[in-house]
């Protein structure tokens, strides 16, 4: 399955992107520039929807950490929405959930994103 990034403009000062496919090396090469542009490049909190992400490698984890750190330096927070199954297991295994909040619903993600921002 090719990697896809779908950006949704929510009009509420929070970026929202959905990742679909496998965030492996090939997938990252397809979307990384746009991913950063649609998240840390927008100077606002970001929700990254992982509900349709099938797999993730260490490089994908690095991409998420890099983006979350960049947002934090801007005074914003990244929230990961609905990581599932294998992806959820891998992310928790390396402790991503301890520093980037996971949300089970869009409402929760929006609340967490706004709560973490120093600038909304």
């Amino acid at each position: 399955m090719p990697m896809e990034l779908i950006a949704t403009e929510r009009g509420d000062q929070v970026s929202h992107v959905r990742l679909r496919g496998s965030l492996d090396m090939a997938g990252i090469r397809e979307i990384d520039t746009r991913f950063y542009a649609e998240t840390s490049g927008r100077d606002r909190p970001a929700i990254v929807d992982l509900s349709e992400l099938d797999s993730i490698t260490s490089l994908g984890i690095g991409m998420l950490f890099g983006c979350a750190k960049s947002l934090q330096r801007q005074g914003h927070r990244m929230v990961l929405l609905q990581p599932r199954g294998f992806v959820d297991d891998v992310l928790r295994r390396v402790g991503v959930h301890e520093v980037i909040p996971f949300a089970a619903s869009l409402d929760e993600a929006l609340r967490l994103a706004r709560k973490g921002s120093l600038r909304i």
Binding site: D24, D54, I61, G66, K69, V90, R93
Partner: protein
């Protein structure tokens, strides 16, 4: 039981060919989707690790990959002629502390260790050989 044997060049675009061949093989072998994800992740992490760290020169090198399936397990062997490196000695990543202290690289081998029931390394004839075993629930044969 089935065996997939591939000879790959030390170039990242080989991941595409590797992915196609693996998917086809594991599908033919009836390996469940969740196990396919784990096997693919283990192989990609190990293969990328070899490409990124094994060679001091920019020349072409052959990396061989064997995947052997048996009921409930897949054994992966990756063989390369790079500098000696036992991946089991790779330092564990720091998994605690604030976000700003979290590293953006270095999780690959840690993930491989988590996903495998056996992870071995030998060096002989100037070649590294890494062996990783992924175990899974094998679907029952129809009665």
């Amino acid at each position: 039981m089935g065996i997939l044997r591939l000879s790959l060049q030390n170039q990242l675009p080989e991941l595409k060919r590797l992915g196609f061949a693996l998917n086809e093989f594991l599908d033919e072998e009836g390996v469940p989707p969740d196990a396919v994800r784990r096997i693919r992740l283990v192989i990609e992490e190990l293969f990328v690790n070899v490409i990124n760290h094994a060679y001091d020169d920019a020349g072409a090198h052959a990396i061989t990959l064997d995947v052997r399936t048996e009921p409930g397990r897949a054994t992966v062997v990756i063989d390369d002629d790079g500098r000696p490196f036992d991946p089991r000695t790779a330092p564990a990543p720091v998994l605690e502390g604030p976000l700003e202290d979290r590293q953006e690289r270095g999780y690959g081998i840690y993930i491989v260790r988590h996903l495998t029931s056996d992870f071995g390394y030998t060096r002989s004839n100037d070649r590294n050989r890494v062996r990783a075993v992924v175990e899974y629930q094998h679907p029952k044969e129809p009665t």
